[in-house]
């Protein structure tokens, strides 16, 4: 018999007629087809894809940051300034001189005692009273030496001074009267007995001291000695104007003070009032100060000013020793619990942060934690489960006992303890997320290890593995080409299912304050708002979306997991 012919005959008789079948599907494609046909699984996939887009792309597109605090201006009647009668002397030294704090203090004491002179820092100063709360401090300068020559006083001038008329008679009468000060030719002099001689000193002005406040426009240089001196002299003398440094200034008087106008308008406000701003850094205009001084002088409790073209209303309130001036101010406030608006679609939360933005970033963290933890669990689970399953015997025994121990650990108390330890060490919120991933991952692998071990244990005994050995394939090829591909479906299913669980765990931990911490957002810690029943009821927009996202995402992952399980194993279908 012709063997060829026989072969042909045999082939024809046994070949099944399946020429019509054109499309050849790999197991992967079959799974995909079954998955796509499953409506619930597709719903889950759409949800999960949406969540990914929302969290990862949304976070990029959104102009706001997760920790960005939003503020807004709100009109608010607030204390703007306070005014009080000043009880402090203000010193204006002559050009080129400064007056030390010691000297100022010594003056204050001397003025209180109505003394005529005082000394400070080894120098002696004379006080000349110019008017009410208006003094001139003078420095003593050696003027002349006076000697008694046969009962007759002879004055010899020093350093180019000239002796005025009647000087000797004036000192003579002063010595006889026992006074240390005397006047001659309109100037004041003082003498000190120095052995048989008299050292005579005269005063040069050092500083003008007034108990009035000269308010100036912001950022203008301090007033000069001459200006203050002349202004005070003119004010006391009742003159309508005065001159200083070649310029003429006019007064607009009120009770106890005056507005001083120069050629270009208001130059300074002289008043017995010290006006201070309430908020540091607030700049008060001169007009405002003038208006305050005028209002207090006139006894009114309300005035208006035109600022930047708008009428601003001020009110004064009498308080002990001072007046408080209030006005309606735009206050920069944190937008807490803002309602949903065009700018903030879901409003703002208790910290004035945009809820929608935080949802996006929170989703990132929640989903990332889910994936990373699953990866960690898979990594440990596959390696340990694979080793246990493939090698069996005592290795299997050892690893499975470790798994048993891990299963005995009550996870939630441990999470709480570890979370508290992280608090104790003051771990940075960002770093904390990584620790969180590690902790959840390191506690979650035993389930996967057990599954992988079981799968491999059963697959190892399958005849196709024996066949692979019989055909003499190398061990790595047997493991990676024959064993692993058969475990992957279960791995995919279990990891998808685990993912939802991990997102829930993370949300729970964050809700309890043990997971992701403020200021970083996670869906779990956004729901924490419900701690306060009032906020829970009133500001639904701050926590309901986060809760819904957790629910929907976990549902989505579970749908996908179910769909994959059904797709991988059609026999499992109920």
């Amino acid at each position: 018999m012709d063997p060829n012919q026989e072969n042909q005959h045999m082939s024809a008789s046994v070949a099944l007629d399946d020429e019509q079948r054109i499309r050849v599907l790999s197991p992967g494609m079959l799974v995909f087809k079954r998955f796509v046909r499953n409506k619930l699984a597709i719903t889950g996939a759409v949800i999960v894809i949406f969540m990914f887009a929302f969290s990862f792309i949304g976070g990029l597109v959104n102009p706001h940051g997760q920790t960005e605090v939003f503020r807004h201006y709100q009109p608010f009647v607030k204390e703007y300034a306070a005014a009080a009668f000043t009880d402090q002397y203000r010193f204006t030294p002559v050009p080129g001189r400064t007056l030390s704090q010691n000297t100022q203090n010594a003056f204050n004491v001397a003025a209180a005692r109505n003394a005529e002179s005082f000394s400070a820092d080894g120098e002696t100063f004379m006080i000349e009273v110019m008017g009410e709360d208006f003094y001139l401090i003078e420095e003593l300068v050696p003027f002349a030496k006076v000697t008694s020559v046969r009962g007759q006083l002879v004055a010899s001038p020093l350093d180019g001074h000239t002796i005025p008329d009647g000087f000797t008679s004036a000192i003579d009468s002063a010595i006889k009267a026992g006074r240390e000060l005397f006047e001659a030719g309109g100037d004041k002099y003082a003498y000190i007995i120095d052995g048989r001689e008299y050292a005579v000193f005269t005063g040069t002005p050092v500083c003008v001291v007034v108990k009035k406040v000269f308010d100036l426009p912001p950022d203008s240089p301090a007033l000069s000695y001459h200006f203050v001196m002349n202004a005070m002299l003119a004010f006391q003398g009742g003159d309508p104007s005065f001159e200083a440094e070649g310029q003429t200034y006019t007064f607009d008087r009120n009770d106890g003070g005056a507005e001083i106008y120069g050629q270009d308008g208001l130059v300074a406000v002289m008043s017995p009032l010290a006006i201070k701003e309430y908020q540091p850094g607030e700049v008060m205009t001169l007009e405002f100060k003038a208006a305050v001084a005028e209002a207090i002088a006139e006894g009114t409790r309300y005035f208006e000013l035109i600022e930047d073209g708008e009428v601003v209303e001020y009110t004064l309130e009498d308080q002990p020793n001072q007046w408080v001036i209030r006005k309606e101010m735009d206050t920069y406030l944190i937008k807490t619990y803002g309602p949903p608006s065009l700018e903030h679609w879901l409003g703002t939360d208790a910290n004035g942060m945009d809820v929608l933005t935080r949802l996006m970033y929170g989703g990132r963290i929640s989903i990332t934690i889910g994936f990373v933890v699953v990866l960690i669990e898979m990594f440990i689970g596959i390696i340990l489960g694979g080793i246990a399953g493939y090698f069996g015997k005592w290795v299997d025994n050892l690893i499975m006992r470790i798994v048993d121990i891990f299963n005995c650990i009550p996870t939630f108390p441990l999470y709480i303890i570890l979370g508290a330890s992280l608090d104790q060490f003051g771990v940075d919120p960002t770093l904390r997320i990584y620790y969180l991933m590690l902790i959840i991952g390191l506690l979650g692998w035993p389930g996967i290890a057990r599954m992988v071990r079981g799968q491999i244990l059963s697959l190892r005994e399958q005849e196709f593995m024996v066949a692979a050995e019989a055909t003499g394939l190398r061990v790595p090829r047997r493991i990676f080409r024959h064993l692993i591909p058969n475990v992957i479906p279960q791995l995919i299913v279990i990891s998808t299912m685990t993912l939802g669980g991990i997102i829930i765990t993370e949300a729970t931990l964050s809700f309890l304050g043990l997971g992701v911490r403020y200021p970083l957002a996670s869906w779990g810690n956004m729901v924490t708002n419900v701690n306060d029943p009032y906020i829970m009821i009133t500001y639904l927009n701050t926590w309901v979306p986060a809760g819904m996202l957790i629910l929907i995402t976990v549902l989505g992952f579970n749908f996908i997991g179910d769909g994959l399980r059904d797709a991988f194993d059609p026999k499992m279908k109920r």
Binding site: P3, E6, N7, M10, S11, S13, V14, A15, L16, V24, L25, S26, P27, N397, Q462, E463, F464, V466, A467, A468, E469, A470, T471, G472, L473, R474, R477, R481, H482, P485, N486
Partner: protein
């Protein structure tokens, strides 16, 4: 059909023993041993087929797998071309693997569901360098068409095939390595009768074409009668009767063989069958009976059988029986 003149022995099995330990307790100590194969001797000539028959659990499959070193042996020798298989180092064993192949009983579990058929068949020849890039496809196509598969089946996956087709894939996988010796471990018992015939004929055709040597394990006597040159009857880890097919089927000596053969159905209702009914179950191989292992179920049991182990007796050239009945 077979080349009777060729007398060179391809496989020789001497006093093969395979015990499986029973472990128990916390420390997994071995408390007993299942003596699955307990002293089996046979040899196979090139191009011949040896049928190995026996009840379920008598150790047929274990013999087949131990011969291929798919698990270790407890004692005895397995000489493939005079070379002890179980002492080979890994490398030599790997190079020996293609020369001895196995076809499994279950065509469903013996094919990895994740690999396309072309890969299942072609992977090992490629890995062993039996084929190269140029002739790989031709080689696989040839083997597939020899086994009654179409070349376009290569891209399909096992789940797309029927049981008979899958068994052809298994056969193709074994033959793709150009083996000399194939263990057929009940290759047709999972298939329906019409497909069984196709597969058996296919195996015989392939044997003729490639000059294969088969160790054909089966519990189906009619199949064994059809394909074998020599037959070994196994009971509880021992071959109780061994001889050429003609000798054994014409004149079975061992009471167990007789009982087995009397159970072969004859498709003729008028023939009165003289059945030998075996009573009881096969004893546990962990605790086999003393003396002749068959004595608990034997019709012709004597006092001697319960205490003394029988030794092989040659009834005719190449036909041995292990029974006290023929020992005098």
């Amino acid at each position: 059909m077979t080349e009777q003149g060729n007398s060179d022995v391809i496989l020789e099995v001497k006093d093969l023993k395979k015990y499986f330990p029973i472990k128990a307790g916390l420390l997994q100590r071995t408390v007993a041993q299942v003596k699955a194969v307990d002293g089996v001797n046979f040899s196979l000539r090139k191009g011949s087929t040896m049928g190995l028959v026996g009840e379920s659990g008598c150790g047929k499959t274990t013999v087949g797998r131990t011969v291929l070193r798919l698990h270790g042996k407890t004692g005895g020798d397995i000489l493939f071309h005079g070379q002890e298989v179980h002492t080979l180092d890994k490398k030599t064993l790997r190079s020996l693997r293609p020369r001895m192949q196995i076809i499994f009983q279950d065509p469903y579990s013996s094919l990895s569901p994740r690999l396309p058929v072309g890969e299942i068949i072609g992977e090992a020849p490629r890995e062993h360098g039996i084929t190269n890039k140029d002739n790989h496809n031709r080689h696989i196509d040839k083997i597939m068409s020899d086994c009654g598969l179409q070349p376009y089946h290569k891209d399909r996956y096992p789940h797309e095939f029927s049981g008979g087709q899958r068994q052809r894939i298994c056969i193709a996988r074994a033959l793709a390595l150009n083996p000399e010796f194939v263990v057929c471990d009940e290759p047709v018992s999972a298939l329906d009768v019409s497909i069984q015939a196709q597969i058996i004929n296919l195996l015989m055709d392939l044997q003729k074409e490639y000059g294969l040597t088969y160790l054909f394990i089966s519990h189906d006597l009619s199949v064994v009668e059809h394909i074998s040159d020599t037959v070994g009857v196994m009971y509880l880890g021992n071959i109780v009767e061994y001889g050429s097919k003609e000798d054994i089927f014409k004149s079975p000596y061992h009471p167990y063989t007789r009982a087995l053969f009397s159970a072969i159905p004859i498709p003729d209702p008028t023939v009165k069958m003289n059945r030998v009914i075996l009573e009881g179950d096969i004893p546990s191989p962990a605790n086999p009976p003393s003396g002749c292992k068959f004595h608990t179920r034997c019709r012709d049991c004597m006092e001697k059988c319960k205490t003394e182990e029988p030794v092989p007796v040659e009834m005719a050239p190449g036909h041995t029986v292990v029974c006290h009945l023929y020992n005098s």
